[in-house]
Symmetry: C2
């Protein structure tokens, strides 16, 4: 029987050790996009996990960043829960926008600043220290616990699907908790019973060998124009116009919609935070929320062609580039959609546009009435003293599908990082009290899951 007060006392007594270990993780950059400090961070994490009582090891990945994996056997015959998170971080650039060195882990009052402090080293520490606390307080865990911390989440978890595929037996569990999330502004965790997928492509258009003087515009195809026309043909009236794009969309279910109905989430704050006048189609309330959670998107993340410096230059560009991220919803498949996109552009006559896939993630969905979803909700309510927000789906993407589709187990996505923690931006921070609460949250999830039939 988990006694929260006893746990809180333990945490209070061990606060310095917890903070110190989080700071040592932050001090190793572990920027996966730049390959900086990866092995050092994995090594330190492995030590912290072993110190916590996990049978932990570093698993090398060919041409990839190591995975740190550990297990603790629980009470005999008990269920198994798998925790997932990541130790790699986004690049810290632009460096001069940081108040402190992003890899110093500096502490000011309750805050620890640093790249990766909230996303997701604070979450990682919460998982590991929860296990340590439970082992020290109760000698034994009520369930078997497996912990998988990868080093490539910020670069689309390139090697994770193959790793999970290859290690199904080792990773086998009754449920998965992806602990890589944040609280909402009211101070209670967001819990997601599904994540969007992603197909990230670059369109590269080439119409000639070199740029030309724009006086030739009556005769020569301009790569920027060709790309603009092609992009325009992809999206019409706010919908993706590629034939059969929506064929495999299988959400929202009736349960998802019921859940959505009960969510009180302030989307209007997005407008003031970002200086947005109105949403697309002037969507409001539940309509806006439904779109956010369940609409497949086609987003131009970048476009570039010709002369973009100051003043004017009369050039006819021979090359043009666009980066597009398509967010997918269950059960769209990125590779099938990639082929549809390629086929469509070919059929529309865009022979001079190459489509390069830069990454993909499959969408993932878990039934919100699954045991792990209910246990996570219950744990959150007990630890944070208020109802968490359970979303039937997230508007963001993550590698959740490796658990739901490859391991074929239910999975929730949650975490303990503060809301508005400048994730992926300068001056990222986490708060010490949030990490300490996270330890209680993880312990409670384990406890609730052991109790739930």
């Amino acid at each position: 029987m988990l006694v929260l007060d006893k746990l809180k006392e333990y945490i209070k007594d061990n606060k310095d050790d917890i903070v110190s270990d989080l700071r040592s993780l932050i001090k190793h950059p572990s920027v996966s996009a730049q390959g900086i400090g990866i092995d050092e961070c994995a090594g330190t994490l492995n030590s912290i996990m072993r110190d916590a009582g996990l049978e932990s090891r570093i698993i090398r990945i060919e041409n990839g960043n190591p995975i740190v994996y550990g297990e603790v056997k629980g009470k005999k015959g008990s269920k198994t829960i798998l925790f997932y998170s990541h130790y790699d971080v986004q690049p810290a650039e632009p460096l001069d926008a940081w108040r402190y060195n992003p890899f110093s882990g500096i502490v000011t009052d309750d805050k620890i600043y640093g790249r990766g402090s909230a996303d997701s080293k604070g979450n990682v520490i919460a998982i590991v220290k929860a296990i340590k606390a439970m082992l020290e307080l109760y000698d034994e865990l009520p369930v078997n616990v497996k912990v998988l911390i990868e080093g490539e989440e910020e670069i689309s978890s390139i090697n994770l699907p193959a790793f999970v595929e290859k290690n199904k037996d080792m990773l086998n569990a009754d449920a998965c908790v992806c602990f890589d999330g944040s609280l909402n502004p009211s101070g209670s965790p967001n819990i997601f019973a599904g994540l969007k997928g992603l197909l990230y492509v670059e369109l590269r258009c080439k119409t000639a060998m070199v740029d030309m003087h724009s006086s030739l515009a009556p005769l020569v195809h301009n790569a920027a124009w060709v790309l603009v026309k092609a992009l325009n043909s992809i999206k019409k009236d706010g919908k993706i116009a590629i034939p059969n794009w929506y064929d495999d969309v299988k959400v929202p279910s009736k349960k998802d919609l019921d859940l959505l109905d009960g969510i009180d989430y302030d989307l209007e704050s997005i407008k003031s935070s970002y200086g947005v006048k109105e949403f697309i189609g002037d969507a409001k309330g539940k309509t806006a929320l439904k779109r956010l959670l369940f609409e497949p998107t086609c987003n131009i993340a970048g476009i570039y062609s010709g002369y973009v410096a100051g003043g004017s230059k009369t050039v006819l560009p021979s090359e043009a580039y666009a980066k597009i991220d398509f967010r997918l919803v269950y059960d769209q498949n990125p590779d099938i959609l990639l082929n549809k996109l390629k086929k469509y552009l070919k059929e529309e006559g865009y022979d001079n546009i190459d489509v390069i896939k830069l990454g993909s993630v499959e969408p993932s969905k878990t039934d919100p009435s699954e045991s792990i979803v209910i246990c996570t909700q219950d744990a959150a309510k007990k630890v944070y003293g208020k109802e968490p927000t359970l979303f039937p789906n997230s508007w963001a993407s993550g590698p959740d599908y490796v658990f739901t589709k490859i391991l074929k187990i239910p999975s929730v996505w949650t975490g303990c990082s503060p809301a508005n923690a400048n994730i992926h931006a300068p001056n990222e921070f986490t708060s010490i009290s949030n990490v300490l609460d996270g330890i209680c949250y993880v312990s409670s999830i384990i406890h609730e899951f052991s109790m739930h039939k």
Copy 2:
């Protein structure tokens, strides 16, 4: 009576002086976009013009680059011809692509390398040395000659229209020769009886205060998408779709079309030079040439938004930019068209796009049966031994309209620089023999014009 043989002998005797003066002009960078070496070049040019026998002076322009202006009175009661060219040059960047220092004026065999050697210092020297030669050989010119060399041609001749407007009496002439052109690959000059106009704008779209995570794409307007949609609405089926855009198009005339019929110009070489597979709409022969000369264009010179570096970033851009040059044909007016563009975008609902005018030039047209056109053709034929190519209109733009519309005199656009001289590109050069032929060409134009009724 101009005797070409006598002139050629004079040129041979004075070749060193001619080349030396051209090199000293090249050694002064005179990059108008960067404000480097402007005054030095104007000063040197003024000395060269005075040495040639012109009453020459430097005319300062408020907030602009000086104009070098000179006159020679001809035989009493004779006609007046005005020569126009420019001493400023394009930026030399990228510097590391140059074989030699772009401001050294290095001579290798018949070539002089340097930024501005062909565009248009070689042409300037041809004008000035032709006057010097004729004065030294014949003591007097057969017509009054005025020479206007500006220092802002490469930055859209910003101050030229106001200058010409203010100095109509001083500049008054019977005809103008804009000597800022090149030979065609067969070695005979191109002559243009008209130039396209230009309206250069930047579209700036802003949909929010800051960039966002692309997971918000179902709700928040993406500036790149808004810009792509707006651009697409401007051009449909190859035509500019802005209402009444073509209202003021008054070319080609019957004479223009007759002239076009007789032109044998190898447009196909554009394809091989630039690696272009086929022209827009697979245009060929006279159809292609007619389009090139008389079609108003809407060219995307540059477009930029969001993340354009390596790899992928899931960002929803809040800002997007496009640079567009519209080429105009006689008698479209850039300011009227700018208003039509602004009005159209507003009516189409693009309130979040600002249209910034970066520059404009009016189109210009001279009747191909004008005396100055015929005299220039005759001069070219005599000097180069073959028919020049007379185009009823150019596909490029230039400030010709200040002469045809403000001074209201006929004007031709021609010159003596070599074909394929890497104008506006690294390793620009001119050839000494072309400059020397240019001296004969200018002298011949003056002579023919004095003879023609």
